[in-house]
């Protein structure tokens, strides 16, 4: 767990998330390219579940705190990203800001996940 010095302020850019927000392909674009009509990406339900369980038990990220920060980030850093992609970015942003995990840890985990999901 990082110490207070390592924690970032809410409005500060997090390069990893900023890059995903700018370069990541959003669900609406993918739907158009592949002719899919589902209004939501398949990961929306698991994202909602993550938000719920973080609010449960140890209350790692209370719902009101997360939603207030999502509102703030949605009108600022991630204003050009559609929903639910910006909800996901805001969640990761809030968790890094709160010190629940670090940006470099997330980056390493994303590399592992990408390798796993694209392995043949």
């Amino acid at each position: 767990m990082p110490n207070a010095k390592e924690m970032t302020k809410l409005g500060e850019t997090i390069p990893l998330l900023e890059s995903i927000g700018k370069e990541g392909r959003v669900w609406s674009d993918l739907c158009q390219q592949y002719g899919v009509e589902n209004p939501d990406p398949p990961w929306r339900v698991t994202l909602e579940s993550t938000c719920e369980v973080l609010n449960e038990g140890a209350c790692a990220l209370p719902v009101l705190e997360r939603r207030n920060e999502e509102d703030e980030l949605s009108e600022d850093l991630y204003k050009n990203v559609p929903h639910p992609e910006r909800q996901l970015l805001a969640l990761a942003h809030s968790m890094i800001k709160k010190g629940l995990f670090r940006e470099d840890e997330l980056s390493v985990q994303m590399e592992k996940v990408y390798k796993r999901l694209t392995s043949v």
């Binding site: 990541g24 669900w27 990961w43 996901l88």
Partner: protein, 235 residues
């Protein structure tokens, strides 16, 4: 049907690409588990529960109430009990069971009349009666809807295509952690003699939030426009 006939059709289109957002969602979830913030089993329980949610139970509740005055009264007096009749248990069905902000165990049914229209908002965040109405639409979560609906409900409703006469009073209900609202609109003309199933089909999600009125010829919610505030409230 033979085994070969069963598979003799084109597969539905699918997104054949792993996006950064998909990877991010998995990575965040796995880091949470690694850090001990929750377990895979906790997450699975919520995901399974989320998959059961949708607007159909609330639509059926309204349809039943239109057909049965006693049930309508039950909806007003004891919405938790009335919800049980459409398969929704507000107290026990969700994984958390009791005692957290996500329990939403105080539902309220707001009954419209020809001269009174209710509409639901959550000015604080995006509280929504998910057990009986499913996930909230994107526009419901936007600060613009939340800020403007409480100030200029008639104008915002008109942007949804709902033009109400001046003599119709509009009441905006503001949701919170425990109290969640569902609107019971007035049964529309042209539905005389309809069955409960037929009526359920026209009670769409937007009708249940209060931004649309049921119509005999409309069974689905269209994508709604999002308008920016002219003078946004700074916070």
């Amino acid at each position: 049907m033979s085994k070969s006939d069963k598979h003799n059709h084109d597969a539905a289109p699918m997104v054949d690409e792993i996006s950064d957002f998909e990877v991010l969602e998995v990575a965040v979830r796995e880091l949470c588990i690694e850090k001990g913030l929750f377990t895979q089993q906790d997450h699975n329980e919520w995901t399974e529960y989320m998959h059961t949610l949708g607007p159909l139970p609330a639509g059926r509740l309204v349809a039943k109430a239109w057909l049965d005055p006693d049930y309508k009264q039950l909806c007003i007096d004891d919405p938790v009990k009335a919800s049980l009749e459409v398969g929704i248990d507000w107290i026990n069905s969700m994984p958390s069971k009791f005692g957290t902000p996500s329990d939403y165990c105080n539902p309220r049914i707001l009954v419209d009349t020809p001269t009174l229209k209710h509409v639901v908002v959550c000015t604080l965040c995006s509280c929504y009666p998910r057990p009986i109405l499913g996930q909230s639409p994107e526009w419901y979560r936007t600060p613009n809807y939340r800020r403007r609906m409480v100030r200029w409900p008639r104008q915002v409703l008109s942007e949804f295509g709902l033009q109400l006469p001046e003599d119709v009073e509009i009441r905006v209900a503001d949701s919170n952690q425990k109290t969640r609202y569902v609107v019971m609109p007035v049964r529309p003309d042209g539905t005389e003699g309809w069955t409960e199933d037929q009526l359920t089909e026209i009670v769409t999600r937007d009708c249940l939030i209060g931004v649309a009125l049921p119509r005999a010829d409309r069974k689905a919610d269209d994508k709604r426009p999002i308008h920016k505030a002219v003078h946004p409230y700074g916070h």
